[in-house]
């Protein structure tokens, strides 16, 4: 079992929703020792199983809070729930979104000791491939910050 797992979440065919997957692919290309990189592009009800006994999990997903495109949000999900209103508006998710799945895992006491969530603000989630320039532009910073998370303290 890998101690550290990075999970990219998204839909490659839905514009900026792909950003989590793209970030995961780039992190995988770095061949980081002891780090497992996963891409989830569909059913995430099995999320808690994917992190199994990992000590640290970093999840990367697109965010849609109508904020500045390309903005990077970071949450320590093992310490506190993702912002409350996140659920109130999360109705279009196909079945279940990341935030809901994390809260279910919290209720079931299945969270890993450390769960960091990066949300990258997108603007275009319509059908089609390719990231908005602002979202693509945020990727190097996301990668840099994720790598920083992995560095020994």
């Amino acid at each position: 079992m890998n101690q550290i797992i990075i999970i990219g979440i998204g839909n490659i065919f839905r514009g900026d929703d792909a950003v989590g997957l793209v970030a995961a692919q780039r992190l995988r290309d770095l061949k980081l020792p002891g780090v497992q990189v996963l891409e989830l592009d569909g059913d995430i009800t099995t999320l808690a199983e994917t992190w199994g006994g990992a000590v640290k999990v970093i999840a990367i997903d697109a965010a849609a809070s109508r904020g500045v495109t390309g903005a990077i949000h970071r949450f320590s999900a093992h310490e506190e729930p993702l912002p409350r209103k996140l659920f109130a508006t999360c109705c279009s998710c196909h079945a279940f979104g990341l935030a809901q799945q994390i809260e279910i895992a919290r209720a079931l006491q299945q969270l890993p000791p450390s769960l960091i969530v990066y949300g990258i603000e997108g603007k275009d989630f319509t059908l089609g491939s390719g990231l908005s320039p602002e979202v693509a532009g945020a990727l190097p910073e996301v990668i840099r910050r994720v790598l920083e998370e992995l560095a020994p303290e």
């Binding site: 979440i9 839909n11 808690a48 079945a95 279910i104």
Partner: protein, 428 residues
């Protein structure tokens, strides 16, 4: 004159984006609209000019919850057009992958989307705090379905192993047998689930539905059978277009279906169960009866029990198929293009899914028609709301709105959508 409007701008715990609009006037329901504003995706249009063998993989993309249903309707319609019959173990494997999808889809709906309604929770997160064991059981049960689909289909969502004529690869008997162990656990879990949901409180509500589903000899239906209804319809699937109409309504992106002769009708677990109770194995019939169901169930709120019963059936059937399986010599029967029209309907978790394709002599698709279950049920959902709300107009608005939402969720509507980005609003 006293007018009141009830609006639910985003329906929660349904798949996709939809809204509900109700107008009450002088103590009566004046108007009901279920609005579906998922953008149309023009699948039927872009199938034109593609090859017959592309239809299963293309149409599976319509839905991330029931891709197997789309693949099954597509392959059976193509085989109908091309004069091909798939039988024996290949036929059984198709039923098996469909079992996986029912378990997965019903599992999600029963535990995550529907149960909170009956137990008074806004969502399954709060329910999980009070019922952690049932939610864990539900997630694992659902995963059992995912495992069947990914084992036979190559991956959980939008499987890639299904083709016109059969599969690209088939498992050996030994490989398939490995699935069985977990299915036995799941069978017990399904029995527990039936007992659990049977104890929920259900409102008195039994509309006089016209049920429509497939029906065939000896088996509960997945991929084959005649189209039957509780009001006497009994047709080959190829007659579908003569009896069922699709209409556009200005407020919804999904077409409304109705029976030409009589109007709205119901497809899905309630219809399937009520028209095929005698086709369930005795063990499953008993479990249903112990849960208080008769051979016909007209209360849409009790669809949660019927879904649990269908999960049990799917598990029994999966175990039977695995037990009897012998690996076929070829993973698919040969198929050659020819001119023709092919029809098929299969039983998606949410009900009848109809496909029709016209092919040219080289196997290119000339036109395609796809009628998903949720569009067939839309008109019935609206009619249910009319009937349900009429004696309840005096309820406080919040309570009435909540009950109306519940009524819609009885249908497990799949307002197909494939994005699950993190929707968040930040308070400042």
């Amino acid at each position: 004159m006293k007018a009141k409007t009830i609006k639910v701008n985003y329906l929660a715990r349904v798949e996709g984006e939809g809204a509900l609009y109700l107008r009450l006037q002088d103590g009566a329901v004046a108007d009901v609209k279920l609005k579906i504003f998922e953008p149309p995706r023009f699948f039927e249009a872009f199938l034109k000019g593609r090859q017959y063998y592309e239809a299963p993989d293309f149409t599976s993309r319509i839905c991330g919850i029931c891709p197997v249903a789309y693949q099954m309707s597509a392959v059976h319609a193509m085989e109908n057009a091309l004069g091909v019959k798939v039988d024996g173990p290949l036929r059984a494997l198709r039923r098996l992958i469909y079992c996986g999808e029912w378990i997965e889809s019903h599992g999600l709906h029963v535990f995550m989307l529907h149960a909170p309604d009956f137990l008074g929770y806004q969502d399954s997160i709060r329910m999980a705090q009070d019922y952690p064991e049932m939610v864990k059981l539900g997630l694992r049960l659902k995963k059992t379905g995912n495992d069947i689909v990914s084992f036979l289909g190559g991956r959980e969502i939008h499987p890639i192993n299904v083709r016109v004529g059969g599969f690209y690869q088939v498992p050996t008997k030994v490989e398939l047998a490995k699935l069985a162990e977990n299915l036995k656990w799941a069978r017990d879990a399904a029995r527990k689930t039936i007992k659990w949901v049977a104890g929920f409180p259900f409102p008195e509500f039994e509309p006089d539905y016209e049920f429509v589903s497939l029906r065939q000899e000896n088996e509960y239906p997945f991929n084959e059978g005649r189209l039957v209804s509780s009001k006497g319809l009994d047709l080959p699937v190829s007659d579908y277009d003569q009896y069922f109409l699709e209409e556009q309504v200005p407020y919804s992106h999904a077409l409304h279906s109705r029976l030409q002769a009589r109007g709205p009708y119901l497809v899905g677990p309630l219809a399937r169960y009520s028209l095929n109770f005698d086709r369930l194995p005795a063990t499953v019939q008993e479990a249903a009866q112990e849960a208080g169901l008769g051979p016909v169930c007209r209360n849409p709120f009790k669809s949660i029990i019927v879904r649990a019963v269908e999960i049990l059936y799917a598990l029994e059937e999966a175990l039977t198929i695995i037990d009897a399986y012998e690996m076929p010599e070829q993973p698919a029967v040969p198929v050659a293009p020819r001119e023709g029209v092919g029809y098929a309907a299969t039983e998606a978790p949410r009900g009848l899914l109809y496909h029709r394709y016209r092919l040219d002599p080289d196997g290119f698709i000339k036109d395609a028609k796809i009628v998903p279950p949720t569009s067939q049920n839309q008109k019935m959902i609206e009619q249910d709301l009319f009937q349900f709300v009429a004696p309840r107009v005096e309820l406080p608005e919040e309570e009435l709105t909540w009950q109306c939402e519940q009524l819609v969720r009885n249908y497990d509507p799949c307002i197909s959508c494939a994005t699950h980005f993190l929707k968040l609003e930040i308070e400042r």
